[in-house]
Amino acid sequence: MAYINGIGTISPQNTLLGHEFLEPAVEHTGDFLKAVEPVFKTYIDPIAARRMSRLIKMGISSAKICMQDAGISMPDAIITGTGLGSVEDTEKILAELTVDGKFLNPTPFIQSTYNTISSQIAIALKCHEYNSTYVHRCFSLESCLIDAILLIGEGSAMNVLAGGIDEMTMNHLTIIRRLGIWKREAIRNLDLWSSKIPGALAGEGSAYFIISGERNERTYARLEAAETIYKPGSVEETAASVTRFLNGNGLSHEDIDLVMMGNNGFEEHDSICEEVVSSALPASARVLYKHLCGEYHTGSGFALFVAAGILKKQHIPASLIVRPSPPKKLENILIHNHYRNTDHAFILVRR
């Protein structure tokens, strides 16, 4: 059994320690939802922080917040999921290479390497244990969770620090906006579901979790399982995978009280998400949340933070949109995420 015993989230919402659970919602009016940064020097030695790029500072800070929340000082493993790693550093190198790049600045090159986040966390904690990084679009965080559950099952770890992290930059948004699935202009995030401007709203964030083999007084929820499905051929196939996944974990669709929806504002894919849930989970209440964090490869980390919080507090924050109505009980939550309807991922959390 795996439990979520600590969470550290840096997101476009006030999710740092000491804030109310997603209330009130933070409003954004820019081109994408930018994370609310903590005071990094609270968590990182200022001398070390000077050369670190923003993503790495976010990763280390949320990892430390998570450990503090769990009340532990040393994890038995560190695993990070990131779709793109440090976009800012990658862009710096690409810009230099465009000119020539014979004398590249080595720091962005080092930091653009995806495993920098996990390894910088290990350096900050002096943790010599198992350390890995998954970099597969919307499977990135889910792969970390699968690995964490394996480590606990093997008996090789009691507390695994696992998280998902991605950042957005204006240059990157300019590039991906060419693909026709992102909003081409800024909107107010809280208007996402009524906006007439087509496309997904981009976001970013970091969410680390202490996945533990034992329940304790800090436990948020039980992390039952995660599943990834590549290129299902139809809505029916995706729905059948959901049913198989639930059954494989001893549950049926009636047991799922809430589904954290994969909707991101891109109509064509949102309707697929709705159809999958209508087919596989007709009785479950649906939660829309991406108006709070935006769309990014590891956005399911924000969803897991939300789901775990709901299960622990037995309360759904008013900033979330629940359809058709809040459920009578809050016992089992399924998180659905997808990357352009090609990669579909699911996380099952229980009270």
Partner: protein
Amino acid sequence: MPSRIFVTGLGLISGPGNNVQDNLDSLLNLRSAVGPLRYIETSLKDELCVSEIPMSKEELLEYAGLSGNEACSRNSLLGMIAAREAYLHAHLNENHGLRLGLISGTTVGGMDECEKYYQDFLTNDSRNEFIDIYDCADSTEKIAEYLGLKGFMTTISTACSSAANSILFAARMMKAGKLDCAIAGGTESLTKFHLNGFNALKILDKQPCRPFDATRNGINLGEGAAYLVLETEEINKKTGNKIICELIGYGNACEAFHQTASSPDGTGAYLAMKKALDMSGEQPGNIGYINAHGTGTDNNDLSEGRAIENLFKGKVPYVSSTKPFTGHMTSAAGSAEAIISILALQNGIVWPNMNFTTPMPELNFRPVAELIRGLDLRVVMTNSFGFGGNDSSLIFKKYGIY
């Protein structure tokens, strides 16, 4: 719970050869692929010494049967070619209904195209089909599509130990009963991005590299892809595949020392090897050969050498780095060198550490300088260490000996 993991398929493309057999021939004939850069445009072109696969992108597309499919990175193409060899070797095309996973390591991904078109990406729509192919997952999904795989897949990036971590994660998924078999390894093509990047770190040797040599002066980068097919013992009874060898140990540890440097005493390397050895149940004396990470940098070889001495005390097995043959294949090095180690095991041969002349004063052992034949090798170890201190070690054993 299944506990034994067998290797039943191999696929490798690298500078020295387009498949496993060609690589074996090159190794036996001491043919290195290290030389001047030909296919990547960079102003460093005349200064670098690399191991390149002697095919242009168009030639690789043709070789993979994908001519005209421009929106495919060199990285993905190499991955597809090597994964296909392993897939066919293990007759996976004839075995249906298996829970087959694909776990692939890569780091620089499809940067070869992205670095050419980045200005277009920023300013116009002319190269939009290349936007999606630069991230790490693209090569894994391209391989899946090429081979018609629909099962579990993921991509690992732990720099130069990516492929080793893919292999050990695949084995763990199988032992946990989540997969019956897996194609696991890694791919990395040369790009201006990492040629110039490594050059900026001042760790590239302009001469052929000399791992574990007192005169060593850095890395020769290489490119390629390599995949192993792993099967559980139970599934092997169904597939009837010939067992090449058994994966009996693996270890993953972190240096937690510095982003790009190894600790002088090789803490991470020691821990990774120790974990693998403990899991294997073998005595240190049973390890017949270590295919070292041996990059040829001052730092790695000293750190790894000391870790080997600490673990094996006075009885260091045969050690060599085969990077002077293949160059440092970075994200693919772990699986490429796993295959090179398995070839040693199969043939009773220890590969020479080419270009070695002068022992390192800090170490009490020397790498193997000449090819040695006719050995009764039973167990081999291979090391992969990455930036960020991501260190992993794998141990393979001949099948059928106890």
